[in-house]
Assembly symmetry: C2
């Protein structure tokens, strides 16, 4: 999906919500285990319940990989089931040398036809550019992540700024706003302002809002630009909003609440 | 496999060779496509041909992932086929927040029972420590990689040193020499000396020797310690040494040549 189509969907739905399908098999409702593929049945119900409220689904590949072949099969079926007007993200955080990065691009753009994949920047330019060669496909590169461990390296000084700032600056120069986004787990005003100075026009994928404590109002008011250009991810706060037979209804309610708040910032 | 067993294997075989199974389906001999699983048949023949010369196999997961379910199946069969006295590495370069890193640890230590997995450090402590909780299993964390892109961030100043030096120092403090190794694609004497000052006792996984131009003698003389503690990886230089019906014989010859050179440094 290209940039303009994504922006159009965001404006149409008045939503910049991304639902994270971190489908932990140990947390899905018991009654689904009577079906042949409980993970897919869960995702199917979640997608049906949330598709009117969200503009993107982010599949956290680790939860599928851990289940082996069965998990990759559930992942493939889930990706297939997502309506084509909704942006898809393989949250796989791959990063390797050129010839290997090409194989990962093939994996997530071709074998599994996602719109985008998250990419780790540590190995530098030749680990990222193979993801930038596919029209309408995106590399979503880690900038500042929302976890405690972001302090270990990302928030350490590097030259005149911090490492993650150097990453944003450098990676932005390798591609364009049409094929590169950044993961920024920032929910503080000052940080978001600094990030928007470095990458004013890029799409930002922002986790850590909601259940993890981030403040949606601050994020929206500080990080939105004239094309909106943010996707705010919520995973557990939506997909595990309920745990009983009505889990899909609970997920729909949670997603609707997030979308309604988002609409107020348009 | 624990540290002592690995050292014992290295001393017994007088080899610190790791064979990289970067099995690119477009490069394997044509006659194998008559079989049901050409990638596995190729790997099986390579393992039979090289197992007496090598102490480790490194499976580059990207080449398998790109083939979807079929690829993961070939990977699982290959891992199963590797003799139990040979150390196995999932070269997967994963790295994510704690609950997701746990899923990756499950993937590569349990669902697919590797001895070790390569891990990217950018997301910090909680992205690495979940891999350090399994007795006899290892996280092999990226320090300095051998590609051009290592200059973009790894070789940039960070505090008093370079980023990769800070990574080695910091990550070493999270685990021990019994559960942490480092990828260092260094083949220059000065660099290896600096690395050995920071992590004198850790195992180092060293790619970039041989076909990629690194000098084995320098690596061996500079990076070996009293327990040897290096694994030198060769992928294409062995597995694609030949391309015809005799590909396995050619691989055996190439592996034997590497091992013989290694023996001279013991």
């Amino acid at each position: 999906m290209n940039r303009q189509s994504l922006i159009d969907q965001i404006r149409k739905k008045k939503s910049f919500l991304c639902v994270g399908l971190d489908t932990d098999i140990t947390k899905i409702p018991q009654h689904l285990f009577a079906t042949e593929d409980p993970v897919f049945e869960f995702n199917k119900a979640i997608i049906d319940a949330t598709k009117d409220h969200t503009v993107a689904y982010k599949i956290n590949t680790a939860f599928y990989e851990a289940q082996g072949l069965k998990g990759w099969s559930s992942m493939g079926k889930t990706l297939d089931y997502i309506p084509k007007n909704i942006f898809t993200i393989a949250d796989a955080k791959r990063g390797d040398i050129g010839n290997t990065a090409e194989q990962y691009a093939k994996t997530f753009f071709d074998t599994y036809p996602y719109d985008s994949v998250t990419v780790a920047p540590y190995m530098g330019k030749d680990s990222v550019t193979p993801f930038l060669q596919f029209p309408g496909k995106w590399a979503i590169v880690l900038g500042l992540t929302s976890n405690e461990g972001s302090r270990d390296f990302q928030l350490q000084p590097s030259g005149d700024g911090l490492l993650y700032e150097k990453v944003l600056q450098t990676v932005a120069s390798w591609g364009s706003v049409d094929n590169t986004m950044f993961v920024v787990g920032a929910t503080q005003k000052e940080q978001l302002e600094r990030i928007r100075k470095i990458v004013p026009d890029h799409f930002l994928l922002i986790p850590g809002v909601g259940a993890q404590g981030g403040d949606m109002a601050t994020v929206a008011r500080t990080a939105m630009n004239k094309d909106v250009s943010i996707l705010v991810n919520v995973s557990r706060g939506i997909i595990f909003a309920g745990s009983g037979n009505d889990f899909a209804d609970q997920a729909a309610k949670a997603a609707a609440t997030y979308r309604e708040e988002m609409e107020s910032y348009f």
